[in-house]
């Protein structure tokens, strides 16, 4: 029997006054996916999360979380939300807030919080009032509260916002680990490098509409070039240039645009026959940033 999707969204829309923040939107997120919501500012990503969680009342449509209609409080069992802005009382400590929240959700213990805080490098902050923390420390501590225990689904709105590089790396590792243990993760983020590093699927929103969605493998287009990784990249680039390719090396990577009439298979044979060691050869694909810009521009051209 096929597992239920973690999230099913059918025709959910939301209007704020004259602004149609979300046009009727359909989306299905499989269980265990790490799903990115991408789009420009004001594209509707946060509104989408809030509508699905029932924090804003959708004008139309319905959502089903783990098989339960989102209008029912039970749909949020095992589901965690980490908002973009966290404003706990300045006197409150992470330990206090966790204990208050756990009185209601009853899903994680103090030890779970400590373990998560240790993982995020903020165990020493658990007893400190939020008013005496920096923005980044507040975010780390709040993320530890939101992810403590074993949630089945996470909604993270800009989780790395305000974090230092070390914090971002720790968050990335945390998300990888949680995804590996089966947690479905929905991330709204502008940090495309991070999204690319942890997400398996994405949806691009432009002015409240989904303009593309699916696995990153299918969304990212192949470009007309190959990418080779070799410990002798310079020598390989020279060899390929001698064979009529316009190869260029940067560090251990050789980039080779495929000329008209030459196939990837022919290039692979050429590299293999060169006798120069290489560890990877692949068709280069656009990165998430390039995909993002392509989709946003095509949407602007389409509406213009």
């Amino acid at each position: 029997m096929q597992a239920l999707p973690a999230l099913e969204v059918y025709g959910v829309s939301k209007r704020y006054g004259r602004l149609q923040a979300l046009h009727p939107l359909d989306l299905i997120i499989p269980r265990g996916a790490v799903f990115a919501l991408l789009g420009s500012n004001g594209a509707g990503k946060t509104t989408f999360m809030k509508a699905v969680l029932g924090l804003v009342s959708a004008d139309s449509g319905r959502a089903v979380i783990n098989g339960v209609e989102h209008a029912r409080p039970a749909s949020r069992r095992g589901v965690r939300y980490f908002p973009e802005t966290v404003r706990f009382g300045s006197w409150a400590t992470p330990e206090f807030m966790h204990s208050q929240i756990e009185r209601i959700r009853r899903e994680s213990t103090r030890e779970d919080l400590l373990s998560r805080a240790t993982q995020l490098g903020c165990a020493d902050l658990l007893g400190r009032p939020f008013g005496r923390m920096s923005h980044g420390q507040t975010r780390r501590a709040a993320l530890a509260i939101a992810t403590s225990g074993r949630p089945s689904m996470l909604f993270l709105d800009e989780p790395s916002n305000g974090l230092d590089p070390e914090g971002r790396i720790l968050v990335r590792e945390l998300l990888r680990q949680m995804a590996a243990s089966g947690t479905t993760i929905v991330i709204n983020s502008h940090l495309l490098g991070e999204v690319e590093a942890v997400c398996s699927m994405a949806a691009f929103l432009c002015r409240g509409r989904v303009v593309a969605s699916g696995s990153l493998d299918t969304l990212l287009r192949y470009k007309g070039s190959a990418r080779i990784e070799s410990p002798m990249a310079g020598a390989l680039a020279e060899r390929l240039s001698g064979s009529g390719y316009e190869a260029a090396s940067t560090g251990p990577v050789v980039t080779v645009p495929l000329p008209e009439g030459r196939t990837f298979a022919a290039l692979t044979a050429e590299v293999a026959g060169s006798g120069i060691p290489f560890t990877l050869i692949e068709l280069a694909r656009e990165n998430l940033e390039e995909l993002f810009l392509r989709l946003v521009h095509s949407d602007e051209e389409g509406s213009g």
Partner: protein, 279 residues
């Protein structure tokens, strides 16, 4: 509603940490200290031949309206400090993302603010009655009426500020409710005196205005009935002022309307909160 006790205690913990309730208790304690000075002086130097119940009537008559002003101010500040503050700070979204219904959040958080209002008021009015009894012994007209009306009065104050603070900015809501309370008390008092001069066109107009204010903001009727219940029975001054109807409870119909209005305001507030966009 199984999460109600948890939400109530969460909200109460937040309210207590913000020192609002403590401040209200401290101000009330100061007020009571001054009242104790007044009563003890009256007890020592009371007029010859005056009954203690008359002195108690005088002390209460001077003090209760001032205490009502304090108490209503606390009710408006505390009543508007919980749900609107949770919404404006974004914490309401945090609570609403938990496996609880909006109705549970409204009820749990609302009850904690109501409990805070009632606790402070009970301390203030209970203190006034206690001090009066200690210094100027007397017998109340009707304790059950006073208790019932006390609860009803606070139900109207709390439900109106809860509803309004979910519709407009908190400060605007406080100003509107405080003005409505002040006007209804003023017109309610005027209307009682005006009833002593039936037939006069001005008096009729005042009585009509008092009736309208009783419908629009029915807190005064409950407060007046509470005062009636707390005042001494059989005081000579009471008889002297009875001609003006100044010391009487409100008609049952008006009290019924006050109860209905409190329920109506609460239902509207709950509906408003259920449809609010959070975060």
């Amino acid at each position: 509603m199984k999460n109600l006790p948890s939400l109530f205690s969460v909200s109460t913990a937040h309210l207590l940490r913000r020192k609002l309730v403590l401040s209200a208790f401290v101000v009330s304690a100061g007020f009571l200290a001054l009242y104790w000075l007044l009563c003890s002086q009256m007890s020592k130097h009371g007029g010859a031949g005056m009954q203690t119940s008359d002195m108690a009537l005088g002390a209460l008559f001077m003090t209760l309206p001032a205490a009502a002003t304090l108490s209503s101010a606390f009710a408006f500040i505390l009543g508007s400090s919980v749900l609107p503050d949770e919404i404006q700070s974004g914490r309401a979204a945090y609570w609403a993302a938990l496996p609880v219904s909006r109705m549970e959040i409204f009820t749990g958080f609302g009850l904690s603010s109501l409990a805070a209002c009632l606790s402070v008021s009970l301390f203030l009015f209970g203190g006034i009655v206690g001090i009066t009894h200690a210094c100027l012994p007397y017998v109340e007209t009707s304790i059950p009426a006073a208790i019932g009306a006390f609860l009803l009065w606070h139900a109207v104050l709390w439900s109106s500020i809860t509803l309004l603070s979910l519709l407009v900015h908190r400060m605007v809501a406080i100003i509107i409710c405080f003005s409505a309370w002040g006007i209804s008390t003023f017109l309610g008092g005027l209307a009682q005196v005006a009833r002593a001069a039936p037939g006069e066109s001005v008096a009729r107009a005042i009585v009509t205005a008092g009736g309208v204010s009783a419908v629009v903001y029915p807190a005064d009727q409950a407060f007046r009935t509470m005062v009636y219940g707390l005042l001494p029975s059989g005081a000579a001054l009471d008889d002297m002022m009875a001609f003006a109807g100044a010391i009487t409870g409100a008609p049952a119909l008006q009290l019924g309307w006050a109860a209905l209005a409190a329920i109506l305001f609460t239902i509207l507030a709950a509906r408003r909160f259920a449809k609010s966009d959070l975060g």
